[in-house]
Symmetry: C2
Subunit: 386 residues, 2 copies
Amino acid sequence: MREVFVTGIGSTVFGRHRDTAIETLAARAGAEAIRQSGVERDQIGTVYLGNFISGPLNGKEVLAGIVADRLGLSGNIPCTKVEGACASGGIAFRHAWLAVAYGMCDVALVIGVEKMTHASTSQVTSALNCAMDNELDAPSGLTFPGLFGLAWRSYEHKYGLSREDVASVVIKNKSNGLINPLAQMGATLTFDEIAASSMIADPLQLFDCCPASDGAAALILTSKEFASKSAKQPVRVLSSVQTSGAPQIAKHLDLCSFEATVKAANQAFQLAQVRPAHVNVVELHDCFSIAEIIDSEDLGLIPRGEGARWARDGRTTVNGDVAINPSGGLLAKGHPVGATGVGQIYEVVAQLRGEHPNQVQGAKIGLTHNLGGTGVACTVNLFGVV
Amino acid sequence: MREVFVTGIGSTVFGRHRDTAIETLAARAGAEAIRQSGVERDQIGTVYLGNFISGPLNGKEVLAGIVADRLGLSGNIPCTKVEGACASGGIAFRHAWLAVAYGMCDVALVIGVEKMTHASTSQVTSALNCAMDNELDAPSGLTFPGLFGLAWRSYEHKYGLSREDVASVVIKNKSNGLINPLAQMGATLTFDEIAASSMIADPLQLFDCCPASDGAAALILTSKEFASKSAKQPVRVLSSVQTSGAPQIAKHLDLCSFEATVKAANQAFQLAQVRPAHVNVVELHDCFSIAEIIDSEDLGLIPRGEGARWARDGRTTVNGDVAINPSGGLLAKGHPVGATGVGQIYEVVAQLRGEHPNQVQGAKIGLTHNLGGTGVACTVNLFGVV
């Protein structure tokens, strides 16, 4: 396999873009990534676009080809949309990485995009529930807040956990989001404000849940030869792993862990020959506050059962033992579903270049983690400076 | 690149499956392909599933992971849904081929699936129109029958064409469908019956249009080593090409041709070192009768402007110069959108094994062609007997 580098990144602000078409959001992010990388449009050999629910919410599909057209890409190159619920963006990235790593092409464009805020809450909830195993799990009546509410209770029972512990994740990520100009919902929040917010799915309250978002992010990946010509510092992809897991909640024997994350992380660290302790900066899938605690343990970054304590003790802040979600994460930066996995890589690349507005000092190794559905799809990627 | 073989094929009947869930259709086809190939489930290294509009029509996504779960696949392997409108199945196949050809794994499962007939005509039309460039083409008011109606008029103007010429495609494919037990709408039709059928989008009449369909098809692809252990005769993939083209109708300078098909066919023939004249059996994307005429010319099988004449003269029947759509094609076998590209390969593999119910005698080289949207996505694949 060849070495692969990220040489250009682009992103819209995550938030509300009601008057902008989904393909326009995607094209804006893509154009920025292309411009930054310095590649010519006719050097791009393939496009992968991650999107989850543009069909139900926007009545638009074949977005990979349509966005390539908007970007003026020529040469009839293969343009592919991939979908894996909330992991769609990470899966798009992995396929672009495979294309360059295996020598199918030298330059690949990755785009993640979603547009949700124009739809009603019930439309958005129905669309998001497309990521459930609706045939077998529908009788449970669970939505995703319900699943993560169960996970919270399960974690509380198994390891012990307080409302304060979980709130410390929210306070950190919302505070990080305030520093990130791309973030939708940064805020200075107190514990009392979090504890007073509406109950969504007991024990999850409003601020424990990521918002619905519009947005797009994009990356240019290249071979080493192309990376050497890049104006910006190239960031190397150390490994990229995609896994699957049980689609039904009942099949998860332990709701304090997602097997797909554990397997992906183990493989990613092994392939990259990196250990969790080497990781300086992490963007992980905090769709709910409790998810950050579970994910950080599943990724091997924090010992099992200690995630809540680490959060409470401030060990996951930008100056902590390991910086988790300095972007604000899904909770504060937002969660335009198909864009999220690509946006995480945007953030980590900015960190490894030393150009992030919420910079982790001296960051050399970064990790991204993107989880779909009830853990049915997952990607974990490791990045390093050259 | 390594040689890749199709060693197992599976398919549901194409037609109405109102009481069967989409994931069940997919799993049935997948289980048949696995069983036939003789591989063990834990030897499967990746799953690609092609689907277009399960989100809007079934409220179900992440189908790759969900279907893998139904099939009892273990090991947390990567499971990816790809989407490229009507070319979704072909794109799924190409990605599985890439995975084996580039040595990412030795055994890959491809599934294509769609479930449409439970929805109302207006729901289906809206969902299919997700394949249009709705932002830029919406003002034209065109649906897909409208586009292919324009193509017919354009061909008529440029090369000359009669209602009888186009009807001969319908008569042939409907007649072929009668012989295929998987086909939805085989029929013995006369010219007068076709000419008397309802007008859909002038000049396209009812029998010129493929039906809405439910169905799934699946393939097992393996490396040469695994293929040598196969019970059934392995069929070699000679080449697989995916291209893109203009998503807006106005950008097609010539409606008598789809650039994505021309480019994909040229590349596929070049990579396989095969010439169009060598091809014995073809399954191509006859979503409308006129499309078969255009596609057969775009693929280089018939000289430009002569497709109508070849059809009228019977040169594309199962005993003709080149057998086109002996399965019945989309017109008669049906068009469960995401399944179509995989189903075409099912048919060609059966032909090259000499086991097809509508066998092309002595078939050695087969071609499949799957076209999405307004020509925005295309795959062309060539197959040969070992």
